[in-house]
Amino acid sequence: MIESVEIYWNPLVWLIAFIVIAIVAYIIRAFGKKEHKKGEQAKPFLSGVEEPSKEAVHVRGGNVYWGFVEALKGYYGAMKKMHSGRVNDYVAWFVVIASILFVVLFALEAIL
């Protein structure tokens, strides 16, 4: 339980919400058809083609979010360029940050 100036959170509230959602989900599930049969009906229909084994069609981790990465090609291209893996670049970023701070701090002094 967190109580401070404006923040309140109690795990109990979450637990109650969880139970309510579970009950709603159960009710929705109860509307399902009773006469469903396992076996024949559970199989996917692939226009009569035999279903390949589960091992053969398993989607590997590298393919997940392929579309997301493809859509943001420009951004990811820049990011890949930035994460070059060269140790010189690692040091360069340190120099860049330090010099930006240096310029800002001393330029502000001169302006104000």
């Binding site: 893996g85 140790v87 040091v91």
Partner: protein, 122 residues
Amino acid sequence: MIYNLPFLTVVALIAIGMYAMLFKKNLIKIAIGLTIVESGVNLFLITLGYREGGIAPIFTNLPPGMSPEEIPEKMVLPVPQALTLTSIVIGVAVLALILSLAIRIYRHYGTLNAEEVRRLKE
């Protein structure tokens, strides 16, 4: 002006060292750049400890004609020297580690070029 010379050397050393670290691709040269920066910092520390006309803070080895009563005014505080020594020792350890890793890099990659030693990227 002449008293600023060590400080100018410090700046020059650090600049040269950083140049090597930023633009040299050979890992050994990068290690050399690191040592040059380190020498610059060490020189800076040791320069801070210099006092004109100061004597070494060793009671048993005073210059002739000096009594132990007037010591503290003349003696320099040995802290910067202690700092420098510590820093040199640490520098040796770091350099040894970098070089030993560089040897292993060479065995695995067959090169010391930072352009090619980047299987870890993105």
